[in-house]
């Protein structure tokens, strides 16, 4: 029976992979590709010498339809999100949902407390007066929104993490100095080590290497 939970590219597999990384003892799904000595393949890493080269290489990788890949650079490159085919983040929707939920719960809490559970006359104001609720609704809207924005951003980026397979590659260390890299990951449904290598070499990479997952 085919195990759809483990289908490459499915979100269930993504979550299982993430849990396996973070939680000791959590069974990680088996790697899609392994080397001859049985070690999991993280992906294929290609080195470029200039921002222009890596920019055009990114366009080629994008046009081939790869989804699970990333570009590494010592500094921000203007317009790179277009060359990589980034979609807009879903984070604002998350923030809005959590913000409105917070404000709504704040309203319910205060109304229930001051008009239903324990009605108390304060300064001769009506029990259910909406005016004093507003500052607290504001706070309970803003604070969870800020948390949602920060932690949602971290979660969508797969952060925090203590190690990354690329850090084991000696050539990759120059990414903080004067080299630019593209890494296409084995988790991509279209991943094929040979095809990827050919693509990246034709895109002008000076050095293409296979990255093992050393975690």
């Amino acid at each position: 029976m085919a195990d759809t939970r483990n289908k490459p590219g499915s979100w269930t597999r993504d979550i299982a992979m993430m849990m396996g990384t973070y939680i000791p003892g959590f069974a990680k799904p088996p790697a899609r590709f392994v080397t001859e000595d049985g070690r999991a393949v993280h992906g294929v890493l290609a080195e470029f010498k200039t921002p222009a080269e890596v920019y055009h290489a990114a366009e080629k990788v994008r046009d081939k339809g790869y989804k699970r890949w990333d570009l590494y650079s010592p500094f921000p490159i203007h317009g790179i999100e277009g060359a990589m085919g980034f979609k807009r983040t879903k984070l604002p929707l998350l923030v809005a949902a959590i913000g409105f939920t917070g404000a709504g719960l704040g309203l319910l809490l205060q109304y229930w407390v001051s008009a239903v559970a324990y009605p108390l006359v304060v300064q001769g104001k009506p029990y259910g007066a909406w005016e004093p609720f507003v500052p607290i609704m504001f706070e309970l809207g803003v604070l969870p929104s800020a948390f949602a924005a920060l932690f949602g951003m971290l979660a969508l980026n797969g952060l925090p993490r203590f190690h990354h397979p690329l850090l084991g590659q000696k050539s990759f260390w120059r990414v903080s100095d004067d080299r630019f890299f593209i890494c296409i990951e084995a988790e991509d449904t279209k991943f094929d080590a040979q095809e990827v290598r050919t693509l990246l070499e034709s895109a002008g990479s000076t050095n293409v290497e296979l990255v093992e997952d050393d975690a």
Binding site: E81, R88, A96, G124
Partner: protein, 434 residues
């Protein structure tokens, strides 16, 4: 002239050589081609006639309000006049802010703000007429000008401030400062189009420094004198900020329509783009929230502290016709624009943003009505309330029509964007990365 070296400001760090390079680049910039950045009288003629017609018809309808009683007609005129005065004041504020922050992205949109602000002196003529009528009639809406309240203990207390001579002097100070700033800001900017003198940018920034302080004080006191002062007993320290919020809100709404119209005419292609509209829309959103925050803060503190002199303003506006109008005001001035503008998509679309701008102008008219119209009935036997809504609508549309007509005359006189601003390359390449 001594070279002042500063850190990261694009115009100040620039020497004559670098500025020459900017000018050379701008000379070959296709987006700055003449027919793209000039509006001819012929192109403006249709809309111009339409606006003039709207203005005349609107004012005639508003004048019909005088048939009800003199104060109803006068209030309809004043609501219209203050609606456009707020628009011009807000535009002046943004011109000053653009200069004082030395912002790059707004160099291409600044000219239209300057054009709108330069109508401020004409608005001041309107306010001068209003003031003369108030003085001649012994207080139509500024009731303290009359004899009704002579000897009232608060009137005695406030006499040092609330007296006709000082009121006229204050008005002359406001009008003088605003006329100077509005004319000179546009004058220097258009002079730079001709001469290509980069030091004019420094001069505009220098004058924005004291200008923005003077603007803050004059706007606040203008609002105290002509809006809050309609009821001499009432006072709110928030009032100046409340009126300022209305100014910023309405001017952005009005200018969104101006830009969308120019873009629909095929003007400013590549000069004012979705990127600029996006940031313009962000400001609209910001000042929608700002108005909500200010309006609520003012109401909340008065509601909580419950002091009769302050609460009567809101108590009166929570009875009769006004109870509904207050609720409508919260919806149209805060809630609806908030949800319309919160998303990215409508801010980047000229049609959307213009439609939202029109809605926000409607909200602005409601706001002015909410402030001014209740004063018509104060101390009167016959209650007008909102029954003269048609006169108010006429007054608002009439003044906006005349305002737009005059604005078009300013727009055809000069290029639609600054053409030699040192920050122009930044503005032409402006992009939102998020």
């Amino acid at each position: 002239m001594s070279q002042i070296s500063t850190q990261s400001s694009p115009d100040a760090a620039m020497d004559d050589h670098a500025y020459q390079a900017v000018l050379d680049r701008l000379a070959t910039e296709p987006a700055l081609a003449d027919d793209n950045i000039t509006l001819t009288s012929a192109e403006a003629a249709g809309v111009s006639r339409l606006l003039l017609g709207l203005g005349v018809v609107g004012l005639v309808i508003a004048a019909g309000g005088f048939a009800l009683n003199f104060r109803a007609g006068f209030a309809a005129m004043q609501i219209g006049l203050f609606a456009v005065t707020a628009i011009a004041l807000g535009a002046l504020f943004f011109v000053l802010v653009f200069h004082i922050t030395n912002a790059g992205w707004c160099a291409t949109i600044r000219r239209q703000f300057e054009n709108v602000a330069s109508l401020l002196p004409l608005c001041m003529i309107g306010v001068a007429v209003l003031l003369v009528v108030e003085l001649a009639t012994g207080g139509t809406l500024l009731r303290w000008l009359g004899t009704d309240y002579e000897g009232h203990h608060l009137m005695v207390h406030k006499e040092g401030y609330l007296n006709p001579t000082f009121l006229v002097i204050r008005f002359l100070v406001y009008a003088g400062i605003w006329t100077f700033l509005a004319f000179r800001m546009r004058g220097w900017s258009t002079e730079q189009d001709q001469s290509g003198d980069r030091w004019l940018t420094r001069r505009m920034r220098f004058n924005s420094g004291w200008g923005i302080l003077a603007f803050a004080l004059t706007t606040a006191f203008f609002a105290f004198d002509f809006l809050m002062g309609m009821d001499f007993r009432f006072f709110s320290t928030m009032w100046g900020v409340y009126f300022f919020a209305a100014c910023a809100f309405s001017s952005l709404a009005f200018l969104a329509i101006v830009f969308a119209w120019l873009m629909s005419k095929g003007k400013l292609q590549g000069v004012v783009t979705s990127e600029h509209l996006h940031d313009h829309g962000k400001l609209m959103f910001a000042f929608t929230v700002f108005w909500g925050y200010i309006a609520f803060s003012q109401y909340f503190l008065i509601w909580y502290s419950n002091i009769p002199e302050e609460t009567m303003f809101y108590i009166f506006r929570r009875t009769g016709d006004w109870a509904l109008l207050s609720k409508v005001l919260i919806a149209v001035h805060f809630l609806i624009p908030f949800f319309l503008l919160v998303s990215r998509v409508p801010k980047r679309n000229p049609r959307f943003i213009a439609a939202i701008g029109a809605f926000m102008l409607f909200a602005h008219a409601i706001d002015m009505t909410f402030i001014i119209q209740p004063m018509v009935d104060a101390g009167e036997e016959k209650v007008i309330g909102l029954s003269s809504w048609w006169a108010i609508a006429g007054g608002v549309l009439g003044f906006i029509g005349i305002f737009g007509f005059l604005l078009l005359r300013k727009m055809v006189a000069v290029p639609l964007t600054a053409t030699k601003d040192p920050r122009l390359p930044l503005a032409l390449n402006h992009k939102n990365y998020v």
